[in-house]
């Protein structure tokens, strides 16, 4: 069998792409759609560097076949900021120096976004468990958790004043 045609919504835009049956969503995001923010750290679901939000659920894009996203909404790191205005999570990661090499960061930001979408006021423990599938070799996690909780507080404030 030859390439398969798939239509999906990526970061709000309708896209169509061709893929081989064995190609993953991560492969297509990076190689066909040139959205190289999502990273491949392991390719086996262990590191979370490839995390994207698919129909509202956080998934490892390395463990989703490209053809599986037919008709789905996919959110990647490229859609997180609004133009040149960073999302509060991104800003807080900078403020707290919650990244060093940055390889894990797109996945952690998407995982954190999914957390705050589902739970605007997580405890530290909840945030740590939620992010347990996102490995970082650099930061020691503490700054990441502080940044996430700080962004959550800011988003709650924004919502109140909106």
């Amino acid at each position: 069998m030859s390439k398969q045609r798939t239509a999906a919504i990526v970061n709000g835009d309708p896209v169509e792409f061709l893929s081989d049956p064995g190609q993953t969503l991560l492969d297509v995001l990076r190689d066909e759609l040139h959205l190289t923010g999502s990273k491949e750290g392991c390719g086996s679901g262990d590191c979370g560097a490839c995390s994207v939000i698919m129909d509202g659920r956080l998934v490892c894009s390395c463990l989703v076949l490209a053809a599986e996203v037919e008709g789905c909404r996919v959110e990647t790191i490229e859609g997180l900021s609004t133009g040149s205005t960073l999302h509060p999570l991104q800003q807080k990661f900078l403020d707290h120096a919650a990244l060093q090499c940055g390889f894990c960061t797109p996945g952690i930001l998407m995982a954190s976004k999914a957390l705050l979408d589902a739970n605007p006021d997580p405890t530290e423990t909840e945030a740590r468990y939620w992010l347990a599938g996102n490995l970082c070799r650099c930061t020691g996690y503490d700054k990441i958790i502080k940044a996430v909780l700080d962004a959550a507080a800011e988003l709650r404030q924004d919502r109140k004043s909106a």
Binding site: M1, Q4, D20, P21, G22, T24, G43, S44, G45, D46, G48, S51, M54, R57, L58, V59, C60, C62, L63, V64, L65, A67, E68, E70, A111, A114, L115, Y129, W130, L131, A132, G133, N134
Partner: protein
């Protein structure tokens, strides 16, 4: 190597046909299968994605019990408004599988049919006396969960067969369950041993029925009838729990590997079953 193809049938019949091929594999969440395909450990010529078949994702109450679509992900189990009140052990076991990302995909059918001896949801489902609804070329049949896995990586499903749903039986008052596993850290690891216990009590807290199932201590998950029997007619007094623990240890036939020695696994399985029984009993007493 034959070229891989991907199919996402929209009916059970279509899927049965597609899975009758020699090296076709069912796909639910893909958190086991796609890892194996990518590493070359599995070489299917066709991947049959079951998730677009109506009813394979979702949970419904039926005849006093629950029917859980086979491809329903772990996160949906915990989001259901009543499932975890009535079957907290099944839900906590399924929720132990992997990370948030894995929970958004991983299904009960995949956990069972991957046929790992350490699969977390399986002892809980067996203790709950859950059954599988299986579709195949000869129609649909129902089978107890413990009859599906026959050894590491092996199932009793025949060509063209796949699981369409799990059924959890009706639950009376004063009944509950629990699942515990031992891993060397707090998250993201594979069970060294696991134990699921499901109990139904009378108004005075005496066990009317009790089922104990173990994971990671034998080639398949085990239903330990003697262990359950040791609790029936008791209020989980120390002597009953001791007898249950003895039955658990007698049933274990674990391997030694980097995660734990056979002796350690046997000892831990009994400790976990003891603790899970106490949790299930306390939960059951609190049920209306």
């Amino acid at each position: 190597m034959a070229q891989l193809s991907y199919l996402s049938p929209s009916s059970v019949d279509e899927a049965v046909k597609a899975l009758s091929g020699t090296s076709a594999r069912a796909l639910s969440g893909g958190t086991d299968l796609l890892v194996q395909v990518r590493s070359g450990r599995a070489k299917p010529d066709q991947i049959v994605d079951l998730k677009r078949i109506p009813g394979l994702i979702g949970i419904r109450a039926e005849n006093g019990g629950f029917v859980i679509g086979s491809a329903t992900c772990g996160a949906m189990l915990s989001e259901h408004p009543t499932l975890s009140k009535i079957w907290p052990g099944v839900v906590e076991a399924a929720n132990l599988i992997g990370s948030t990302q894995v929970q958004g995909r991983a299904s009960l059918a995949g956990n069972l049919c991957n046929a790992s001896p350490a699969a977390d949801s399986v002892p809980a489902l067996i203790a709950a006396r859950a059954t599988c609804v299986i579709a195949g070329p000869a129609g649909t049949r129902e089978a107890a969960v413990e009859t599906i896995v026959t050894g590491p990586g092996k199932t009793s499903l025949t060509a063209g067969e796949f699981i369409i749903a799990f059924k959890l039986p009706p639950r009376g008052p004063k009944a509950s369950d629990a699942y515990l596993r031992m891993i060397p850290r707090t998250e993201m690891d594979i069970a060294v041993a696991g134990a699921g216990v499901s109990l139904a009590l009378d108004a005075d807290g005496v066990c009317l029925s009790a089922h104990v199932a173990l994971g990671a201590v034998a080639p398949t998950a085990l239903l330990v009838a003697d262990a359950g029997q040791a609790l029936i007619g008791t209020r989980l007094e120390e002597v009953a729990l001791t007898r249950m623990a003895e039955a658990v240890r007698a049933a274990c036939q674990p391997i030694s590997d980097k995660r734990g020695t056979a002796d350690y696994r046997t000892k831990i399985a009994a400790v976990l079953a003891h603790r899970a029984a106490v949790i299930a009993w306390n939960r059951a007493k609190e049920q209306a």
